[in-house]
């Protein structure tokens, strides 16, 4: 939409306009991811401090130590980037960026508000689940190329865990998609408009339990809290991260925080009504495109705020878990996946299927009928008509 606005208004050559738009979108997403990573390093220390009855950083730049993440960044940049002697140089350098790209690509298909999405994919959910599976390569390469037994242990554990948790994650993601009838994230988000009751998580009891299984699988697949076996300090020193230092180490951590934020964002859209707050403020205040374009845009902005808060709360919950629970053993992690998550998710799948079959309209009166064909946001309509692609 912006692309042909630029070509008509400023007469820019067509390819420059599209290239510029794509570049701007990537920069915005990268900015969000960097800001999120910085915010979370600061927040992790504060949450840990609060839980452990201490203050966390207070003196680094101002009262609440909010400059702590910048200080960390500078420290990591200044630190020497050493590569172990017999390490496989090329793969050692490549690993963090593979992990980071996988975490970044998830943001491409993630809608922040109605239509505010970098790449409006028809297979949004499926694309995100596929890309989330690639992050494990960065870890495996990192572990193997550090050429030390400990990192190999860490890499193998992480790979086994993430790969085995993709199964229940996929199942949990399919259930809301089945209820919503489409893979397109924007459509799923639009379906949950109106009061909080319309959120998919309250659609039926099975979906409610699925949300918690999804939370568990996200914890495991982003290697957090009770499942953080890869860098289990007490056993494997730092797992595959042992040999990394300085900027490469921070790229790995940005990837981890990025994928944490993205997965909790996906959870927010699939289960917690995406960019719709519990109270439909946008309709109440009349911020819709019907009245005026700018008002509609403000409504979307409010929606984006909603979405960011929900994802933020998801990450806060992950941190809260990390500082209270001890770590699970590798075989316990595997048994929880195989013996608890997968059968439970399958049962929820069957339950939801029967539920939608028995009560097509759903138990509660819904503001928007489910399964409706995805209504693209009004201003993107013209682009759909033409065959032109960026």
């Amino acid at each position: 939409m912006i692309a042909e606005y630029l070509t008509t208004r400023f007469g820019l050559p067509e390819w420059l306009a599209c290239g510029g738009v794509a570049l701007v979108q990537c920069l915005i997403l990268l900015g969000i991811m960097m800001f999120a990573a910085a915010l979370f390093t600061w927040m992790e220390r504060k949450v840990a401090g609060r839980i452990q009855d201490r203050l966390g950083p207070t003196r680094v730049g101002g009262r609440f130590g909010w400059l702590q993440s910048v200080a960390d960044g500078v420290k990591l940049l200044a630190k020497e980037d050493l590569i172990p002697g017999e390490a496989d140089g090329l793969l050692f350098r490549l690993a963090p960026y593979v992990s980071f790209c996988a975490a970044f690509c998830v943001y491409l298909a993630l809608p922040f508000s109605n239509g505010w999405v970098a790449q409006h994919l028809n297979v949004g959910v499926f694309f995100i689940v596929a890309i989330a599976g690639l992050e494990v390569f960065g870890v495996i390469l990192g572990g193997y190329s550090s050429a030390s037994k400990w990192s190999l242990y860490g890499a193998m554990r992480e790979a086994a865990q993430v790969v085995s948790y993709e199964v229940p994650l996929g199942l949990c993601v399919v259930i809301p998609v089945m209820v919503a009838g489409t893979l397109d994230l924007v459509a799923i988000g639009n379906m949950q408009r109106g009061w909080g009751v319309n959120w998919l998580v309250f659609h039926n009891p099975f979906l409610f339990i699925t949300f918690f299984i999804y939370a568990l699988c996200t914890l495991a697949s982003t290697n957090r809290a009770p499942f953080d076996l890869a860098e289990a300090e007490s056993e494997l020193v730092a797992g595959f991260l042992t040999e990394y230092s300085g900027f490469r180490w921070s790229v790995f951590f940005m990837a981890e925080y990025g994928s944490m934020y993205a997965m909790s964002g996906l959870g927010a859209i699939l289960f917690l009504g995406g960019w719709h707050g519990p109270i439909p403020l946008a309709e109440m205040l009349g911020l819709s495109y019907a009245n005026h374009a700018v008002l509609g845009w403000l409504g979307d902005l409010l929606g984006a705020g909603n979405f960011l808060c929900k994802a933020f709360l998801g990450v806060a919950a992950m941190m809260w878990l990390r500082w209270t629970l001890p770590r699970l053993r590798i075989d316990q992690v595997m048994t929880t996946c195989l013996k608890y998550c997968v059968p439970l998710a399958a049962a929820m799948f069957v339950g939801t299927m029967l539920w939608t079959y028995a009560l097509p309209g759903g138990l509660l009166p819904r503001s928007t009928p489910l399964g409706a064909v995805a209504e693209a946001p009004p201003w993107t309509a013209p682009r759909a008509a033409r065959g032109e692609r960026p």
Binding site: L91, L121, A130, V136, V163
Partner: protein, 205 residues
């Protein structure tokens, strides 16, 4: 007609071919696996360009996310594992080159003999439907609805194929059974030799 479409197409095509060659050339096992991952990911990029979203995501998930993770596991778990590098003797090179070259020539002839592909112009303005929307038709075809003949006037022609759901399910169950059997057979079973009593660690450091 230079636009992003052709530019990206060329980029992905070169990545695929280059890394495919790299797989063959490289000596280190894990580097081979990484090159294979790169080339298959580039193939998925090609699918995206051809507006086949579903197939592209499927490629990413099945090939890159599934098969190659197993491949890397296999490389890591084998006895000498990731630290082995294979020496390739000139004789092997020769034979491989011959076989590869012959196949390449065959493919090129086949490709150029199809007249539909001859005119470059046609390729440039392929009818790329916006955003793909291929998932719903694929789903319906799976269930047996003739997607291409949907707007057909007389209803008789609309149906007609039994759909691919049943064979699809049978094949997947079959594959599962085969894999479980293979895993079971692969388990090395041997009688415990009396000498191999539980080693008392304090005797040997």
């Amino acid at each position: 007609m230079i636009n992003w479409h052709t530019c990206f197409f060329l980029l992905f095509a070169t990545i695929t071919c280059a890394f495919a060659v790299a797989v063959v050339v490289s000596a280190n096992v894990v580097r081979m696996a990484v090159c294979l991952i790169a080339s298959l990911a580039a193939v998925s990029g090609l699918y995206f360009l051809a507006a086949a979203d579903f197939v592209a995501a499927m490629q990413l998930m099945i090939y890159v996310g599934g098969t190659l993770v197993l491949l890397v596991f296999g490389v890591m778990l084998t006895a000498r594992g990731p630290f082995v590098s294979m020496k390739i003797t000139p004789a092997n090179w020769l034979m491989a080159g011959l076989a590869g070259g012959a196949l390449l020539i065959l493919l090129l002839c086949a490709a150029t003999s199809v007249d539909a592909w001859k005119t470059a112009a046609v390729a440039a303005s392929a009818p790329a439907a916006e955003g793909g929307h291929t998932v719903a038709p694929i789903g319906m075809a799976l269930l047996g609805i003739r997607v291409d003949a949907l707007e057909q006037a007389n209803p008789a022609l609309r149906g007609g194929i039994a759909g691919y759901l049943l064979p699809f399910e049978i094949v997947s169950v079959h594959l599962l059974v085969v894999l479980v059997g293979a895993a079971h057979l692969a388990r090395a079973r041997r009688r415990r030799r009396p000498a191999e009593a539980v080693p008392d660690a304090s005797r040997s450091a």
